[in-house]
């Protein structure tokens, strides 16, 4: 623990603010939740490497659907939103409310852009024939990325509430900074989950001509 943390030790038995401790415990449990979803997706990609069959009955590969440019853009947006969130928390610690508002507004806008990209991606995939019902790939992909998107949407809503709350004059001092820090922890968690999803779900599909799971495909499908 740094001197900085020691100087602001909470008057609790652990020395950690209860709100912060509870948020970390929640994030640990959410880690298990996403761990299960990511595991399920990866496992079924291993078991069913062939992708899905569209409405016309054609065998399709996931690589035909993915747009690495779009996904990279949304990844970059989410990473930068995390950066702005860190600045917003720092501003609150320093008592700079205007700077906090500016940064948190940036996070909200970036979060909305990310959600917009996801809606576009889902719509595109749906029109190309990948639905939540027609394949195991569709089920695991939409459930995993949809759950993550829901987390982002909740985060955006939370930050919008904090943004407007800051105008009431009640968001200040140590407790105000703690409230923002807890919201920031949630937002950063959403970001780190996407870091894993970006690699485990998207990037690995570009390894080799049929993705990393393509080695399990029968020759006739290839």
């Amino acid at each position: 623990m740094s001197d900085h943390a020691a100087a602001h030790e909470a008057p609790t038995s652990t020395g950690i603010d209860h709100k912060k401790l509870i948020m970390w415990l929640f994030l640990a449990s959410d880690c298990m939740f996403f761990g299960t979803l990511i595991s399920t997706h990866l496992l079924y990609r291993k078991l069913f490497p062939a992708g899905f069959t569209d409405a016309e009955g054609h065998q399709r590969f996931i690589q035909d659907l993915f747009s690495i440019e779009l996904t990279s853009f949304s990844t970059f947006i989410l990473l930068m939103s995390s950066f702005l969130m860190a600045l917003a928390v720092s501003a609150m610690h320093k008592g700079q409310l205007k700077s906090f508002r500016r940064n948190v507004l940036g996070v909200i806008i970036f979060g909305l852009i990310f959600l917009g990209c996801q809606v576009f991606e889902f719509t595109h995939f749906y029109h190309k024939g990948l639905t939540i019902q027609n394949s195991v790939l569709g089920s695991t992909f939409y459930v995993l990325t949809g759950t993550h998107g829901t987390h982002v949407a909740i985060g955006v809503l939370w930050l919008i509430l904090l943004y407007f709350y800051s105008f009431t004059g009640k968001l200040g001092g140590h407790m105000g900074a703690l409230d923002v820090e807890v919201a920031g922890l949630y937002w950063h968690f959403v970001d780190i989950v996407w870091i894993i999803i970006f690699t485990a779900v998207y990037l690995v599909e570009y390894l080799g001509p049929y993705g990393i799971w393509g080695s399990g495909l029968p020759a006739v499908v290839k």
């Binding site: 623990m1 740094s2 001197d3 900085h4 943390a5 100087a7 652990t14 020395g15 950690i16 912060k20 401790l21 970390w24 415990l25 994030l27 640990a28 449990s29 880690c31 298990m32 996403f34 761990g35 299960t36 990511i38 595991s39 399920t40 496992l43 291993k46 078991l47 690495i68 990279s72 970059f76 990473l79 930068m80 995390s82 950066f83 860190a86 600045l87 720092s90 610690h93 320093k94 008592g95 009640k170 968001l171 001092g173 140590h174 407790m175 105000g176 409230d179 820090e181 920031g184 950063h188 970001d191 780190i192 870091i195 690699t199 990037l203 570009y206 390894l207 080799g208 990393i212 399990g216």
Partner: protein, 113 residues
């Protein structure tokens, strides 16, 4: 969301915040560069196993960089780190257990088709 025990931030506290601010900027740049490198990497004519390993390491690096600096774990009490690590270990254990239970080499996937 009340302001119960208010105190003006000390000079040392503010100096530390300024130092962190610079860390955040460097980290944000580093994250952007690593993400760009990941995208370039998948197009390089290298063995799949090598690319996969490097991608995994890069992803893990980004993951821990965010939790350590942006989420302040490096500055906070160790207990928080262990709490989070417990969840992380269980998540990976879940994947490992599922992989062992449903090994593609031993399962008849026609059951699910």
């Amino acid at each position: 969301m009340s302001s119960s025990h208010e105190a003006a931030p000390s000079k040392a506290f503010l100096a530390e915040e300024v130092r962190r601010y610079h860390h955040f900027i460097v980290l944000a740049l580093w994250l952007a560069v690593v993400t760009g490198a990941e995208i370039v990497l998948i197009y390089l004519p290298l063995p799949t196993a090598v690319i996969f390993t490097v991608l995994t390491l890069m992803s893990a690096g980004k993951f821990f960089a965010v939790i350590l600096w942006f989420m302040h774990l490096i500055y906070d009490k160790r207990l928080l780190f262990w709490c989070f690590l417990a969840g992380l270990v269980l998540a990976f254990a879940t994947y490992a257990a599922l992989l062992c239970l449903f090994s593609a080499d031993r399962i008849d996937t026609r059951w699910f088709a």
